[in-house]
C-alpha cells in the first residue's frame, strides 16, 4: 500500500531549500586592545610602545643633559655670595631612537613632540643661555628666566607632523645663571639638584605594510553544522572602522576534528570547505569611520559543511589609505554592522 504510514513517516526535512537570510547582530564597538590582547603580536608590541592617557600609541624618551646637586655647585663656587654662571658641556642626544624600533615594524611617527626643560629647585629664579639645534633649525636662548621652584620648565617645545623621525638634537654653550647665595635659596639645604633635559614623544601611525601575516586562531568554536547538511553559507556585514590600518583577511582555514583511528582526536584543516579569500577592511580614522562591505562565503566543494571545530585566520595589516588623522588610538573602534547570514540549498533537520 503506497501511503501506508503505519510504520511511521521519515521526518527528515530540508527547510528553506532555495535560500534563507537571517539578520544576526550588530557587533561592536570593538577596540584594538581587544584584538591585540588575543594574539602574540600584542605582547611583542607592548615592549616597543605604550598607550598614553588619551589612548594614543606612543613612544617616549626622556634624557638628562645636565644634573648637579646645589651643594656641589656651592662648594665649587669661588664666591658663593655672588651670582654664578655654570657652563654645561655640549650635548648630543638621539631622541628618535625610541621610534626606530616600531618603525621597523611599520609604526611611523605621525606627531612628534620635543621639549627642552630645566629643573630649578631654588626659591629664587635663575636664567639659561645657549643654543639648541634640532633637525636643521637652531634656537638661541639669551638669559631666559627660569622661575623659582620649576619642576620641569619648558625652555623650548615644538610639535612636528609627519613621519620623519627627529633623530638628533644637540646643545651648545649652555650656561646656567644662578643667583647670589643660591645655597641658602635651596629649600632642601643643598640636596636638591639643578637639571636640564629633553623629552621626546611620538604618536604613532601605521606607515607601511606589516611584513608578515598575523595568524589569528579562533579555537573552541565547535559549530555543529554537520547535522544540518548545509552546503553554502554567506556571512555579510558592513564593517565600520575608525582604525587607521587596512586589514586584509588573506585566507581562512576551516578546522575540523579528525580521529586518527587510534582514538586520538586532532584538529586539522578541512580541504573540502573553501572560504572567500582576500577580504579587505578599509582604513578609517577617529571621528571619520569608513564602511567596508564584507561578504564571506563558506562553501563545501563536495558534500556538506562538517562540524567546524575552529578557524585559522591569516590577517595582513597594511598601511592606511586616504587622508585624515592616521594616529593609532586604543579608543578607535571597529563595528560589524548588519551581520547577516544567508544559507543556500537548505537546512536539514529531523522533524520540526
Amino acid at each position: 500500500m503506497e501511503y501506508d504510514i503505519s510504520d511511521g513517516v521519515d521526518k527528515e526535512m530540508t527547510l528553506f531549500s532555495d535560500v534563507v537570510s537571517i539578520p544576526i547582530a550588530d557587533i561592536g564597538p570593538l577596540s584594538p586592545k581587544q584584538f591585540l590582547g588575543d594574539v602574540d603580536l600584542g605582547s611583542t608590541l607592548s615592549g616597543l610602545f605604550k598607550v598614553d592617557d588619551e589612548g594614543y600609541f606612543v613612544v617616549e624618551k626622556e634624557e638628562t643633559i645636565y644634573s648637579n646637586p646645589v651643594l656641589l655647585l656651592h662648594m665649587g663656587a669661588a664666591d658663593p655670595t655672588q651670582p654664578l654662571d655654570v657652563g654645561i658641556d655640549d650635548f648630543t642626544g638621539y631622541p628618535g631612537v625610541a621610534a626606530e624600533g616600531p618603525a621597523w615594524l611599520g609604526f611611523m611617527p605621525a606627531l612628534q613632540e620635543f621639549s627642552l626643560y630645566v629643573v630649578n629647585p631654588l626659591t629664587e629664579g635663575m636664567a639659561v643661555s645657549g643654543k639648541l639645534t634640532l633637525l636643521s633649525a637652531s634656537e638661541v636662548f639669551n638669559k631666559v628666566p627660569i622661575s623659582a621652584a620649576s619642576d620641569h620648565f619648558e625652555l623650548f617645545s615644538e610639535a612636528f607632523n609627519g613621519p620623519s623621525i627627529i633623530d638628533v638634537c644637540s646643545t651648545e654653550n649652555m650656561v646656567l645663571h644662578l643667583p647670589a647665595s643660591f645655597l641658602e635659596k635651596d629649600p632642601l639645604g643643598g640636596w636638591s639638584s639643578i637639571a636640564m633635559g629633553y623629552r621626546y614623544k611620538a604618536q604613532l601611525a601605521f606607515g607601511k605594510d606589516l611584513p608578515m601575516q598575523i595568524p589569528i586562531p579562533v579555537n573552541d568554536l565547535d559549530l555543529p553544522l554537520g547535522q544540518f547538511r548545509v552546503k553554502d553559507v554567506l556571512l555579510s556585514t558592513d564593517v565600520v572602522s575608525e582604525i587607521p590600518v587596512t586589514l586584509v583577511l588573506e585566507s581562512v582555514d576551516v578546522m575540523v576534528k579528525e580521529d586518527d583511528g587510534e582514538g586520538n582526536v586532532k584538529t586539522v584543516v578541512c580541504d573540502d570547505v573553501s572560504v572567500t579569500p582576500g577580504l579587505s577592511i578599509a582604513s578609517g580614522c577617529s571621528g571619520a569611520p569608513v564602511v567596508s562591505p564584507l561578504a564571506i562565503r563558506i562553501k563545501a566543494q563536495e558534500g556538506t559543511i562538517p562540524d567546524i571545530a575552529g578557524l585559522q585566520l591569516n590577517l595582513s595589516v597594511k598601511a592606511p589609505t586616504g587622508e585624515g588623522d592616521k594616529r593609532l588610538n586604543m579608543n578607535q573602534t571597529i563595528r560589524f554592522n548588519k551581520l547577516r547570514v544567508t544559507v543556500s540549498g537548505g537546512i536539514t533537520v529531523q522533524g520540526l
Binding site: 501506508d4 504510514i5 527528515e12 527547510l15 535560500v19 537570510s21 539578520p23 544576526i24 550588530d26
Partner: protein
C-alpha cells in the same frame, strides 16, 4: 382520493431521500401524516487538500513534502492558497411534525458542533523554499470551533397543487465557542530585517472557565478559574431556512432551499488581542564581552520575549461578536420516469459559503428507486469543488418506523488503517430514525 393521496405521498417522498425532504422546509407541505423523528446524526468532513499533499511515497519510505526528495514545485503545487479543513456534526434530538388545517408544522430540537482550521500556503512556502519571496500575507490563518443548540419551528404551505413554500425559524443557543482570527498577519523578510505585523483576536467563551492573566496583562493559559460546572449559555442567535417546491407538470419536481440564514451573537468572556509590529534587525550592539554562549543565549531569549510580546494575546474585556453560520443553498430536480413511476431521475446542486475559506459547491445527477412503505434507494454522482463525488441514500420501513441513511464521499483513497483522505474530499454520513404517524 385515497389512492391519489398515497400516490401523492409516495411522489412527495420519492422526490428525494427522506433526509432531504426534511431539509427543505417546503418539502413537508405535501405530507398528509405527521412524524416523530427520534434522532438523526449527520457528520460532514470537508477538506480541500488531502494527505497526498503532505505525504509522498519515495522508494520504500514515506516522506513529508519538506523532504529534499520532494521538489518545491510538486509540494506547493499540491496545496491550495488557503488549505482548509471543516468538520460539522449535527444531532437532531427530536423532531415532531404534524399536519395543520392548511400547512404542515414541525418542531425540532438539536445541537450542532462545527470546527475548522485554515492555513495559508505561504507558511509552507517559507518552510520549503526560504525567505526570498517576501512579503508574505498570512492573514488567512484561522481556527474556530462552536457548539450550539437549535430550537426550530417550521411551517410549509402548499399554495397550489404545484407550488409550495416553507420556512423554518431557528432559535440558536450558543454553548461554547472558540475563535482565532487574524485580520492582518504580514511577514517581511529581507537580509537585514524581519518585520512582523500582526492583528489577531483569540476569543473563548467562558461558560466553564475563565482564563487568567499574567502580570503584564497577557492571557495565561496555565491559569484558570471557575468551578467547571455547566454555566449559562454564552450566545444567542437566530437563523432562517427558506424553501420552495414547484411541480410544473406531473412527474417533475423542482425544489430550492436556502439554509442557515443567520448567525449567533457570542459573548467571549475570555478575549485577547495580539496587535503590533516587531522588527528584528539582529541583536544590537553586541559587545565583545557578549560573544560567548551564555550571553548569546540570553540575548536570543530576550529577542524571543520581544517577539512573543507582539504575538501573545493581551487580555481585553469580554466582548460580543456576531458570527454568521455557513450558508447553504441547494436546488434539486427530480423527474419520475414515465415508463416506471418507481424510478426517478434526479439532479441537484449545492453551494455552501464560509467566512474563513473558499466555498464548497457540487452538482450531481442520479437515480432513485422508491417503493413506498418499503424501501427507498438513491444513487448519485457528480463533481464539485473537490472533484468527483458520489452518494448513496436509502431508507427502509418497518412497522411505522423508517430508518434512513446516506453516505457521500469522493474518490482518491485514504491513508491505510487511518482513513484520512488522500485527496480533497467531502464526506458526509447521515443516519436517522423516524416514526411515521398514520
Amino acid at each position: 382520493m385515497k389512492k391519489l393521496a398515497i400516490s401523492f405521498l409516495a411522489f412527495a417522498i420519492g422526490i428525494s431521500a427522506w433526509s432531504q425532504t426534511l431539509e427543505n422546509p417546503a418539502a413537508t407541505a405535501s405530507l398528509e401524516n405527521g412524524f416523530v423523528r427520534i434522532g438523526e446524526f449527520n457528520s460532514t468532513s470537508r477538506n480541500n487538500v488531502g494527505a497526498s499533499a503532505i505525504y509522498y511515497p519515495k522508494g520504500d519510505k514515506i516522506v513529508t513534502g519538506l523532504h529534499s526528495s520532494v521538489s518545491a514545485e510538486e509540494f506547493l503545487g499540491n496545496l491550495k492558497p488557503v488549505n482548509s479543513k471543516y468538520n460539522q456534526i449535527d444531532y437532531k434530538l427530536v423532531s415532531y411534525g404534524w399536519k395543520g388545517s392548511r400547512g404542515f408544522h414541525s418542531l425540532e430540537v438539536g445541537a450542532r458542533v462545527n470546527y475548522g482550521l485554515s492555513v495559508p500556503k505561504e507558511i509552507f512556502r517559507i518552510l520549503k523554499t526560504g525567505t526570498s519571496q517576501s512579503p508574505y500575507d498570512l492573514s488567512s490563518l484561522r481556527a474556530f470551533g462552536n457548539v450550539y443548540g437549535e430550537l426550530a419551528y417550521g411551517y410549509a404551505l402548499p399554495l397550489s397543487d404545484k407550488f409550495s413554500i416553507g420556512g423554518r425559524v431557528k432559535l440558536l443557543v450558543g454553548l461554547n465557542s472558540v475563535d482565532i482570527v487574524t485580520r492582518r498577519f504580514n511577514l517581511i523578510t529581507t537580509e537585514e530585517q524581519y518585520r512582523l505585523d500582526l492583528d489577531a483576536d483569540i476569543d473563548l467563551t467562558n461558560r466553564n472557565k475563565k482564563i487568567g492573566t499574567d502580570d503584564e496583562g497577557y492571557l495565561d493559559y496555565t491559569s484558570f478559574s471557575g468551578k467547571g460546572k455547566l454555566g449559562a449559555p454564552t450566545g444567542g442567535g437566530f437563523a432562517v431556512d427558506l424553501g420552495l417546491v414547484w411541480k410544473p407538470f406531473d412527474g417533475l419536481s423542482l425544489s430550492a432551499s436556502a439554509l442557515d440564514l443567520g448567525g449567533i451573537l457570542w459573548y467571549y468572556g475570555n478575549a485577547g488581542t495580539s496587535a503590533g509590529s516587531y522588527t528584528f534587525e539582529g541583536m544590537k550592539d553586541l559587545s565583545a564581552d557578549e560573544l560567548d554562549e551564555e550571553h548569546l543565549t540570553a540575548r536570543l531569549k530576550a529577542t524571543g520575549e520581544e517577539v512573543l510580546s507582539v504575538i501573545k494575546p493581551k487580555s481585553v474585556d469580554g466582548r460580543f461578536k456576531a458570527k454568521g453560520l455557513p450558508l447553504t443553498a441547494q436546488v434539486v430536480a427530480s423527474y419520475m420516469l414515465p415508463f416506471w413511476e418507481r424510478l426517478s431521475l434526479d439532479a441537484s446542486g449545492r453551494y455552501t459559503g464560509y467566512s474563513y475559506c473558499a466555498p464548497y459547491w457540487e452538482a450531481r445527477g442520479g437515480l432513485s428507486l422508491d417503493f413506498p412503505g418499503l424501501v427507498y434507494l438513491g444513487l448519485s454522482a457528480g463533481s464539485g469543488a473537490y472533484g468527483f463525488i458520489y452518494g448513496v441514500q436509502g431508507s427502509v420501513d418497518f412497522l411505522s418506523f423508517r430508518l434512513y441513511a446516506s453516505y457521500e464521499n469522493g474518490i482518491g483513497g485514504t491513508i491505510p488503517y487511518e482513513g484520512t483522505p488522500l485527496k480533497a474530499n467531502n464526506k458526509t454520513l447521515l443516519i436517522g430514525l423516524v416514526y411515521l404517524i398514520k
